[in-house]
């Protein structure tokens, strides 16, 4: 699909800060205390870092993050087991097993990563919403907007929420009378996953109540993601329509088409 990108590229540092940090730490510790302590330190870092994908898996039920967590655990175990083996080859212990696990999981994680299964898809949803908006003009306003109605049963809603959450399209807040889907960009998901942020009012969201009323709120920060000042009214309406379309596809059991539509945008799988 050929289309004109309407959102700006995300900062590359959001993705590379952790590997760069690990490498820098390794060399700093190695130059001051030797390679043994350096391996222990970065091994500890990987084990600590594995907590976050575990939490993501627990909150979203996205099995890909379980693979990421296990991958980080295996790297950590390899690093921690390495120093005795470097000193004495007979102390290899379980390292070969850890290495097999690490390389196997690395292939799995790479496959999932390149297939966009580990990426919060907020930007892709924004792109889909912006696709039909051609008018421009300074028209931002910081208030939600009703965008339509879609008939939905509670069972269909539960299924839709599970799909949206598992596929990292949005983070769902369950309220008494509605579900609020908060659109998340890569790197902005941590406060929600850790449960630090319990209020979505200052974020971009799409809410669907159990009567099927859809309303949309786009924050100024997210509005600035677009390259142009798109007509705000049309953009909100379009975002609501995207979710209504997703919901209709989900009701008809055609969720794979939702993923296909987003994959067809061919945005960077890691940003």
């Amino acid at each position: 699909m050929i289309f004109e990108r309407k959102t700006k590229d995300q900062n590359f540092l959001k993705v590379v800060w952790f590997p760069i940090g690990v490498i820098l730490t390794f060399f700093v510790v190695a130059s001051t205390a030797g390679f043994g302590p350096a391996f222990y330190v970065i091994g500890g870092m990987f084990l600590l870092a594995s907590v976050m994908p575990f939490i993501t898996f627990w909150r979203t039920r996205n099995a890909g993050f379980l693979a990421v967590a296990m991958y980080l655990v295996f790297i950590g175990l390899v690093c921690i087991s390495a120093p005795p083996a470097i000193k004495d080859k007979s102390e290899v212990g379980l390292i070969p097993l850890f290495l097999v696990g690490m390389y196997g999981l690395m292939l799995v994680v790479a496959y999932l990563g390149f297939n966009r299964k580990l990426k919060w898809r907020g930007q892709e949803v924004f792109e889909l919403a912006a696709m039909s908006v051609e008018d421009t003009g300074d028209s931002f306003t910081a208030r939600p907007r009703p965008t339509g109605q879609v008939p939905i049963s509670k069972t269909e809603m539960i299924r839709f929420v599970d799909f949206i959450t598992t596929n990292l399209i949005a983070f769902a807040f369950r309220e008494d009378n509605r579900i609020v889907f908060v659109l998340t960009l890569p790197g902005n998901d941590i406060p929600y996953l850790l449960g630090i942020k319990k209020d979505y009012l200052e974020d971009t969201w799409v809410a669907i109540d159990y009567d099927g009323n859809v309303s949309v709120n786009i924050t100024q920060e997210d509005y600035l993601l677009f390259k142009q000042d798109l007509d705000f009214d049309q953009l909100c309406q379009s975002l609501g329509n995207v979710f209504i379309e997703f919901l209709e596809l989900s009701k008809n059991g055609r969720e794979s088409q939702i993923i296909d539509r987003m994959n067809a945008l061919r945005l960077n799988p890691f940003l």
């Binding site: 300074d138 306003t141 009012l201 809410a207």
Partner: protein, 197 residues
């Protein structure tokens, strides 16, 4: 009786000493401010102001007298009954239906903050900042549920404006609420939050 006169009269009737004052006025043929003040143990200025206020409302008559000294005033009641009747219909908007055809939308770059109600489908308040610098003040207007629903469905700036009646219909607000909707529209238009096209 118009509302302003009724409000003034009510203010006099609500004074702590008004009942005692009227007892004097009913039972005396006439009385001066100094006599009333000494009788009720109050400052003469307070008594004078009260009697002058009642004079202005036509409840008391004021007569200047000369008794070999400098002239002064004596007061006597002109009526034995005070009827306080206010017709609140005078506040009703004339032809409320006409205003419903006005096209409205949100004003551009207004900077007002709309607070979403708990249920999420309407606003509970609008906060507007007025003035500049140190004079800047926050003006928060709490909304009734119909007003909150109406504003939730108000077209965005630059969107096609809709008539008040259409916005009410979209918001599911009954026509019975049209006067309170127009009241908030007029107020927010005055504050520069709503644009009447």
């Amino acid at each position: 009786m118009d509302y302003k006169t009724a409000a003034q009269l009510s203010a006099y009737l609500s004074k702590d000493y008004s009942e005692d004052f009227f007892k004097l006025l009913v039972n005396y043929q006439d009385i001066s401010a100094s006599e009333a003040a000494s009788r009720l143990s109050m400052h003469i200025r307070t008594a004078q102001d009260f009697l002058d206020g009642l004079t202005a409302l036509g409840i008391v008559n004021k007569t200047e007298v000369h008794e070999k000294k400098r002239p002064y005033f004596r007061y006597n009641l002109t009526t034995e009954k005070i009827m306080l009747e206010v017709d609140l219909n005078e506040f009703a908007k004339e032809n409320p239906g006409e205003g419903l055809a006005r096209l409205v939308r949100e004003m551009k770059n207004v900077g007002a903050n709309f607070t979403v109600a708990r249920s999420g489908n309407y606003f509970s308040a609008v906060t507007i900042w007025e003035g500049d610098g140190r004079e800047r003040k926050v003006h928060k207007i709490s909304l009734t549920t119909p007003q909150g629903k109406f504003l939730f469905h108000l077209p965005f700036p630059q969107a096609r404006p809709l008539s008040i009646a259409d916005v009410m219909e979209n918001a599911g607000v009954e026509p019975d609420y049209s006067t309170e909707i127009q009241d908030i529209v007029d107020e927010l238009a005055r504050l520069g939050v709503i644009e009447i096209v």
